[in-house]
């Protein structure tokens, strides 16, 4: 008789940990050597791996579990583990009937604590759970799923990283590449090389998340793009959540990072053939590492070069990057665009997409900025130079306002039939939700873009503002 329905072990529940465990179980059942095993067989297979190849090092997951118990030798660890999970599967362990708080199903519920579950609180302290219960009460399938979680996460800096997504193909892909990828557990275990939780190449959550997006864009295009064959960059609504956690000893912790669908879609657009050559150097030039303070980015070779060595993408992509971090944290990129575009070609169309879709800026605001920039660039070289200097040096909103009033006056005196700015357009140019500095920066960006477009070489005196420079470790 089946001890448990396979679907209840693998169907998404909405809980990222239970779902990661479910994806691991589903992936293991796809393996020819494992497909005939029942769930207890899989538990035995994985328990053997944890005990004999990982040296039972699961302390960041399960505290005082049968496997991590130092008083037990390997044989006893395996026996005790199997006895425990058997008692859960055949429901002889203490239980009570109720609704599972993960799956919502009415079933016999078993207690989940720090020995068999992640971040569920200690049962030692009686008021951690409602009604003085000694843990979370969950169905047997959830207890079993959690046992497989270590195979579906990776070591990311000082904690563990679990990526989940609303796009189930993406969420499944994250786990599958840990299991069946080139360095996946199932490939290394046969060679006796699997020594523990997979290690990310990145120690920084933002880098790890965007590297995972890169991997999705490369390897599972049909899940990401609406029309992948036509190379139409219309990403499906895919969001990612990174749970950066540890359940270790007295310092359990979790930090959540959310990469929204709009940021995912924008990043996918930036990685497309149309924009990659422009976007990549912009991001690459912003990597920072305190050990390589004297290194400079070489756009031609796509390397960071210091007096001692030259570092390729594989090396420098592990450094901190304010562009990726700001994208992830919802902070503006406009000052960075402004600094970059003064010396590099960068299409305003991409910035416009960023402003409208990520910053949710009104299209009419963007259009007005473009109109004013067009007027500035239509004038003589000396006026353009002065415009850039005045806008860039403006420290108070009054200075920008005075300058715009002067432009309106110049436009009128120049005999233009249309006013540069109508009274009902002022609210679009200076919306309540956008700072005047951002509008000023966007004006400068639009001016530079038009100078690039017209191939006008003007000896501008652009001064970098302190606000752009962000201290990084």
């Amino acid at each position: 008789m089946e001890l448990v329905l396979k679907e209840n072990l693998t169907h998404p529940t909405g809980d990222p940990f239970a779902d990661a465990g479910g994806y691991v179980i589903a992936s293991l059942w796809k393996e020819p050597a494992l497909k005939d095993k029942d769930i207890l067989g899989l538990i035995e297979y994985v328990a053997n791996l944890y005990i004999n190849q990982w040296n039972a090092n699961l302390h960041a997951f399960f505290l005082n579990s049968k496997i991590t118990q130092p008083a037990f030798d390997s044989k006893r660890k395996l026996e005790e583990t199997l006895t425990y999970y058997k008692s859960i599967l055949n429901e002889t362990a203490p239980s009570k009937i109720g609704y599972c708080r993960f799956s919502g199903r009415k079933a016999n519920l078993f207690v989940a604590g720090r020995d068999n579950h992640i971040l569920s609180g200690s049962s030692t302290f009686i008021n951690f759970h409602h009604g003085f219960e000694n843990g979370l009460y969950v169905s047997k399938e959830i207890i079993v799923r959690f046992f497989f979680v270590p195979l579906g996460v990776m070591q990311l800096g000082d904690k563990l990283g679990l990526i989940s997504s609303n796009n189930t193909i993406v969420a499944n892909y994250y786990v599958e590449q840990l299991l069946t990828g080139p360095d996946g557990h199932l490939n290394t275990v046969g060679r006796g090389l699997s020594s523990g939780v997979a290690r990310s190449n990145y120690g920084i959550p933002a880098n790890a998340l965007f590297a995972f997006v890169d991997s999705c864009l490369k390897n599972i295009r049909t899940a990401i793009y609406a029309n992948p064959s036509e190379n139409v960059v219309e990403a499906r609504n895919t969001s990612l959540s990174l749970y950066h956690f540890t359940n270790f000893g007295a310092k359990p912790e979790v930090v959540l990072y959310q990469l929204s669908a709009t940021v995912f879609g924008f990043y996918a657009l930036c990685q497309s053939i149309t924009y990659y050559e422009i976007w990549h150097p912009f991001v690459a030039s912003h990597y920072r590492n305190s050990k390589f303070k004297d290194a400079k980015y070489n756009q031609g070779t796509d390397t960071w070069v210091s007096p001692k060595e030259e570092l390729a993408y594989d090396s420098y992509s592990t450094w901190r990057n304010p562009i990726l971090e700001r994208l992830l944290n919802g902070q503006t990129l406009v000052p960075y665009f402004k600094a970059w575009i003064s010396t590099n070609r960068f299409p305003f169309q991409l910035i416009e997409t960023y402003l409208i879709y990520i910053n949710q800026m009104d299209k009419r605001t963007v259009q007005k900025i473009k109109d004013i920039a067009g007027f500035i660039v239509s004038r003589d070289e000396d006026s353009i130079k002065k415009a850039i200097l005045r806008l860039n040096r403006a420290k108070y909103v009054q200075e920008v306002r005075q300058y715009l009033l002067k432009l309106i006056d110049d436009n009128y005196k120049g005999g233009s039939q249309e006013p540069l700015l109508k009274i009902d357009e002022v609210e679009y140019l200076f919306p309540e939700t956008v700072s005047w500095r951002e509008i000023r920066d966007l004006l400068l960006i639009a001016v530079y873009e038009k100078l690039h477009e017209k191939n006008l070489q003007i000896a501008t005196e652009f001064e970098e503002q302190n606000e752009v420079i962000e201290p990084l470790d």
């Binding site: 003085f132 609504n237 979790v254 995912f264």
Partner: protein
């Protein structure tokens, strides 16, 4: 469609992830359905035994921050609390300057908010909320929502972008309380808009271009509310 709208506000709010207990308490960016039904109970001053219920809501906040909070961990012997309590500090995320708008089709439920029986809180007891106004509006219905934000939407069959979490719809009035109707939801922050093949009502007064509100059709008839 005629709906009864209750506007609430609070300085702070905190909606914990139901299954993250240890160390740090992050907050969801939108309350689960169960929290809003709990507010109805607090306003009514009694546990409401719903059979079928139509409800929608929208939640927004100005900022998110982390607070340090003292907790007291009570020791136990054989499952019974002792007099030994150990203090500790945890980090709790909270939302600042929040607004919750509830849409109800049953006027009787909306009336409870005219004179709430118990204090209304958006999270914990210090997250005290105020009823700003209660109105009745005629809102247009849309066959396909194009601007969903600030709400939770059932994940199954929709797979909408957002934070995916298993969240309860309600709790029993038993001791200990039991979650009812837990299922996966997309938690969609008010900061991002999502399209869906879902019917909704359109509230033009939420956000610059209005927001579509999904009305949850809750059916508790299959659930035993007294497990």
């Amino acid at each position: 469609m005629q709906v009864h709208v209750i506007d609430l506000s609070s300085w702070t709010a905190s909606f914990r992830y139901p299954n993250l207990i240890s160390g740090v308490q992050p907050t969801l960016e939108v309350p689960p359905v169960s929290t809003v039904l709990g507010l109805l109970n607090a306003a009514a001053g009694q546990y409401l035994h719903h059979q079928k219920l139509e409800i929608g809501y929208y939640f927004q906040f100005d900022a998110k921050a982390v607070d340090l909070e003292s907790i007291y961990q009570i020791d136990s012997t054989n499952g019974r609390a002792t007099n030994n309590a150990k203090s500790n500090i945890i980090r709790r995320e909270f939302l600042f300057n929040t607004r919750l708008r509830i849409y109800l089709t049953d006027p009787k439920l909306a009336d409870y908010f005219r004179q709430p029986y118990y204090s209304l809180v958006l999270g914990r007891m210090n997250d005290l909320a105020t009823v700003e106004q209660i109105t009745t509006l005629d809102l247009p219905e849309v066959a396909y929502a194009s601007r969903l934000a600030g709400q939770v939407i059932p994940f199954r069959e929709n797979y909408l972008a957002g934070q995916i979490q298993a969240l309860p719809k309600y709790f029993t009035d038993t001791f200990p309380r039991q979650n009812v109707g837990t299922e996966p939801y997309s938690v969609i922050s008010h900061l991002t808009f999502v399209k869906a093949n879902l019917p909704a009502i359109h509230d033009k007064n939420l956000g610059k271009a209005g927001t579509d509100i999904y009305l949850h059709q809750l059916d508790f008839s299959e659930h035993d509310q007294a497990v």
